[in-house]
């Protein structure tokens, strides 16, 4: 086993307080991507 993620990084990844804010941040970021919508790709083709 190779420790690729340091103990400090793991602490941050599993700390409920830090992760609570991350949860809010991620939810908003994902909503932006979803709300960013979708469309076609051929509109500009003449």
């Amino acid at each position: 086993m190779t420790q690729r993620i340091s103990k400090y990084q793991k602490f941050k990844m599993m700390n409920p307080i830090i992760q609570f804010f991350k949860f809010i941040y991620l939810s908003i970021k994902i909503m932006i991507i979803v709300a960013g919508g979708h469309g076609g790709t051929r509109e500009n083709i003449k």
Binding site: R4, I5, M14, L26, K29, I30, G36, T41, R42
Partner: protein, 485 residues
């Protein structure tokens, strides 16, 4: 009055049915034809497969909901398509066979004005010799019954490890052209965490086997993503996670045969190898259902409707990888020959793969087929429903709603372990799903501000929140339509 028939009640069929019913007045008929009596939220099968969620929590019966909402429901499976009707039936119809109750085995011509084929994939286990869920120590998590069996198999192996027996666990893809690597990725991380929870991690060797050329390809040709202020390649991120969790990997592997505890595969060097295991979860090939289609005179016109999956408004001209374009991908999911037939979700035939096609030295194609995950399945189903609604309301064809996978983002919240305080998730978003190398030439076809990765407990909470939100939405509870696809 219009009659809209939807084949399939998975993510895309159910999304289409619920939006059509909500937006169309009751004079229009919405009918779902599907063989499974239950709706299932497939993404949570991962947790059923590690015994952390009961399958009852991810499913609910469709009949009572459809009855309450005024959606017609036939528990039957489509067999063949008659888009011009036949000599005795003027209207187009689908021939369906009832699979339960008094009508079991009976055929019915289900006529329609609009048809939505949302039958998803056939789980083509037969394409790999010996790959049978629950046999030869191999399992699947593609349905809730498969996932229940997988947990039985895994818990048995865990018990053996507790008694001192070492075990090999193999998880990944079970065919040279399988897709859905994301589900297998989630499962391997969840299994690895469960082994730690049961204090048997040191007794197990955990191995990833996949048809991907590199880790983190996910059938999407991999991606560049923002991670903690850096720009990482997805293979670097997955490699970091696997190394940290002591998971070995075998890549470029086309599994072609499974015997009791051995998976045989060909690699890109053309070598035939075998990997021994005590428990394996291998995703099968996905294929079309083998539907047939006939014209009014009952001549076979299958090739007008199907190319394995259903033909839609994609550009199917064969071309080399270097010439692939986002514009090849469909926008409206309408069949070009019969314009009242649509195929959202996994049911449509993709124009080509997304990952670079590769062949072994023996000319065997070994590369992932393109994934169509839950979010695009829902979005494409909704836009098909919206176009049908507009067409009915305007009295003429309307195709204003468009959604190419080359102009749509997706969020993949991959569970990496279960638990409110010990859980973890790898949250990856990608925009667009199909890389657009013209628009984003320097970032491997993706917009970096919308393509990012995160690892941590928040990912688990997010996945759990999505589980509850989507089941709430699927049950069509108050204001369900406010929850996006």
């Amino acid at each position: 009055m219009s009659k809209i028939v939807i084949l399939g009640a998975g993510i895309s069929g159910h999304v289409a049915a619920s939006h059509l019913r909500r937006k169309l007045s009751k004079q229009h008929e919405v009918i779902v034809v599907s063989p499974n009596s239950n709706y299932q939220w497939i993404p949570s099968n991962i947790w059923v497969g590690i015994g952390r969620m009961k399958s009852e929590k991810i499913l609910f019966p469709l009949a009572p909901l459809y009855k309450r909402k005024g959606i017609g429901y036939k528990q039957a499976k489509a067999i063949s398509f008659f888009p011009e009707g036949d000599k005795n039936e003027e209207k187009p119809y689908v021939l369906a066979e009832y699979i339960i109750g008094d009508k079991k085995g009976q055929h019915e011509k289900v006529t329609y004005d609009y048809l939505i084929n949302a039958t998803g994939p056939k789980l083509n286990f037969e394409a790999t010799e010996g790959l049978i869920p629950g046999q030869n120590k191999t399992y699947s998590v593609c349905t809730y019954t498969h996932a229940d069996h997988a947990w039985e198999g895994l818990s048995e192996v865990i018990q053996q490890m507790k008694q001192g027996k070492k075990a090999k666990i193999l998880i990944g893809t079970g065919h040279a052209k399988a897709t859905c690597q994301g589900a297998a990725f989630e499962y391997i991380l969840n299994v690895e965490q469960e082994l730690r929870k049961h204090k048997v991690r040191d007794m197990a060797e955990v191995t990833w086997i996949s048809n991907e050329y590199q880790l983190g390809d996910f059938g999407m040709d991999g991606m560049l993503l923002s991670y903690k202020g850096m720009t990482l390649k997805s293979h670097e991120m997955v490699e970091m996670i696997f190394e940290d969790r002591d998971i070995k990997w075998i890549l470029g592997a086309g599994v072609n045969k499974v015997k009791d505890g051995i998976a045989y595969y060909e690699n890109l060097d053309g070598e035939i190898k075998g990997e021994v295991y005590d428990f394996a979860m291998l995703i099968p090939a996905f294929s079309g259902h083998g539907f047939k289609a006939y014209d009014k005179n009952e001549n076979d016109i299958t090739e007008k409707l199907f190319k394995g999956f259903m033909i839609v408004d994609a550009d199917y001209t064969p071309k080399p990888y270097e010439e692939w374009s986002v514009r090849d991908w469909p926008e409206t999911y309408q069949n070009p020959s019969y314009r009242n037939i649509f195929a959202p979700g996994i049911a449509f035939a993709p124009p080509h793969a997304i990952s670079k096609p590769r062949k072994s030295k023996n000319e065997t194609p070994i590369f992932p087929s393109p994934p169509r995950t839950g979010m695009p399945s829902g979005i494409t189903a909704k836009l098909v429903a919206d176009n049908i609604i507009d067409s009915i309301k305007n009295g003429k064809e309307s195709l204003h709603h468009k959604g190419s996978l080359g102009n749509m983002g997706a969020a993949c919240i991959a569970s990496a372990g279960f638990g409110m305080t010990k859980g973890s998730g790898v949250s990856i978003t990608t925009y667009p799903i199909v890389p657009d190398y013209e628009k984003y030439p320097k970032t491997q076809g993706r917009k970096l501000s919308k393509t990012f990765g995160e690892i941590g407990l928040a990912g688990h909470w997010l996945k759990l929140a999505l589980h509850h939100a989507f089941i709430y939405k699927a049950k069509m509870k108050p204001l369900w339509w406010l929850i996006p696809e």
